[in-house]
Point group: C2
Chain length 295, copies 2
């Protein structure tokens, strides 16, 4: 079978390296992005440019979207020149953004109305995982559609898991973000406690990461905090958008998430301090301000 | 140099396997425990019995204590027939319990008054780590005293870290417990969210543990939660005792720890439900009750 022609919509921090990996794997890719300049790098290595999402979808067997939030996904799919306006019957549309499960279901239904198929397939692993092609991909939708997409997923990630019907990829990603948020707060609280107690923070990080307190956050974000490095691996703004969706979804299901709600409020304090475009590890600065620790 | 004669006080879940490893490594050990029957296993394999802590300390070059809480440690060291009443000048006393840094300093000063030396050396790794001799040991006190104790520590653990002067082992352990508490809450919240959303919880655990959400708690406690296994690796009662000490210490330093305070309150709800003697992963049941999920 010939390789499918791909459409790719969204060329931000994640979208560029993901689409680049597909181009380098030999796929033909037509790209669209709201800000054209951010797609220049992909066009320079062979991507075709489309003037709107319908154009990127129109010649594609498989079109993937990677944008910021639920309204962006709805607009990309449902607007006049959106994906659904161009999508061919029998094509497969995959939203890899992290958005609400409701958005996944709404967009999935619109795609089905075009006679096409839909998967929600949000990812975990951040910019580093996108560049290395080692993302974890959480897939909601029909198993047969996942199999059609598998060769593409295997270029992008190392773990591909079918989580259930449409929306279940997003629900699983929300679990992931609940975990990330509280693990992050854990590192921040241990860090300010250690700082104020006069401990050598690096020694504390070294010994605690050996045992039952260990986590990806401790090893990766703790080290950056100790180095005063707040460059984003993942933005505070996006982490808090994801927690907002988790809390809205949980509230609809009447599931109290007191810890997640607290992290959401503390990240809002980081945003209020103008730090939303820093990496999530900058939540430390909010905890430091609360403890009166000078930066 | 001849092997030091050891005193060992405290033969609970942790103390028995630790002292057993030392006996099996060839040390002579004199033991005392408040409830004598809990030391029977050690006496059966060669430990000598003493009728009180002073007796266990009296013939020891190195005496270690492993009891539950700050008042227990103060009593074991400072009471009429306590360690300090028996300790020989030049001996080394090591408290491996998790207690307040203030208790470590108070007991350390009393030991110094006897012309002996003191280390606070709490451990991480739980019953499994105690049995396997793979504990992480966080040591406060003089570096030279740590070197005297190193052969004993190397029987008990695989990571031995000097954290600073007296009390700094305890301060580091409190950081460890802050991390454990919030990582535990993370797993509980992701779990109830997944349950209520209708996700397959094992699939969620599998995919989230691959990436930035990963933690020791997710891999070890998440798996037990999914199996409905609430047998203790570490008791809710003890985890919450440790968080109480962390919060008291932080308050004295005016460090707000909002997440740790929340975990402390939720674990108190588990205790109120009569679940304090279950493993920490049973915090899930409190979150499930809050969400109206039947057990």
């Amino acid at each position: 079978m010939a390789r499918p022609h791909l459409g790719w919509i969204g060329t931000g921090i994640m979208g560029v390296p993901m689409a680049r990996n597909l181009l380098q794997a030999g796929y033909e890719v037509t790209v669209f992005n709201r800000t054209r300049g951010k797609a220049d790098e992909l066009v320079a290595i062979g991507a075709r440019w489309a003037d709107n999402p319908a154009g990127a979808a129109g010649e594609a067997d498989l079109v993937a979207t990677m944008v910021a939030d639920s309204p962006d996904v709805e607009s990309v799919y449902l607007a006049d020149n959106g994906v659904c306006a161009g999508l061919r019957a029998g094509a497969l549309a995959i939203d890899m953004s992290t958005v609400s499960p409701d958005t996944a279901r709404k967009v999935g239904a619109a795609v089905a109305d075009r006679g096409a198929s839909f998967l929600d397939a949000p990812v975990s692993g951040g910019k580093t995982g996108a560049e290395a092609g080692t993302l974890a991909i959480m897939v909601g939708g029909e198993a047969a559609d996942l199999e059609r997409a598998r060769p593409v997923f295997e270029v992008l990630g190392k773990t591909v898991v079918h989580c259930g019907p449409t929306g279940y990829g997003q629900l699983t990603k929300l679990c992931n973000q609940i975990l990330c948020g509280l693990n992050l707060l854990a590192v921040c609280e241990a860090f300010v406690f250690a700082q104020r107690a006069g401990l050598d923070v690096k020694t504390m990080l070294e010994v605690t990461s050996q045992g039952a307190a260990g986590s990806w956050a401790l090893e990766n974000l703790g080290t950056r905090m100790a180095a005063g490095d707040f460059e984003p691996m993942f933005l505070i703004d996006l982490q808090n958008k994801d927690l907002r969706i988790a809390l809205e979804t949980a509230r609809a299901d009447t599931v109290p998430l007191p810890g997640t709600a607290l992290v959401h409020q503390l990240l809002a304090a980081s945003q209020a301090a103008g730090e939303g475009r820093l990496g999530t590890q900058a939540l430390l600065r909010t905890l430091q301000r609360m403890a009166g620790i000078a930066e």
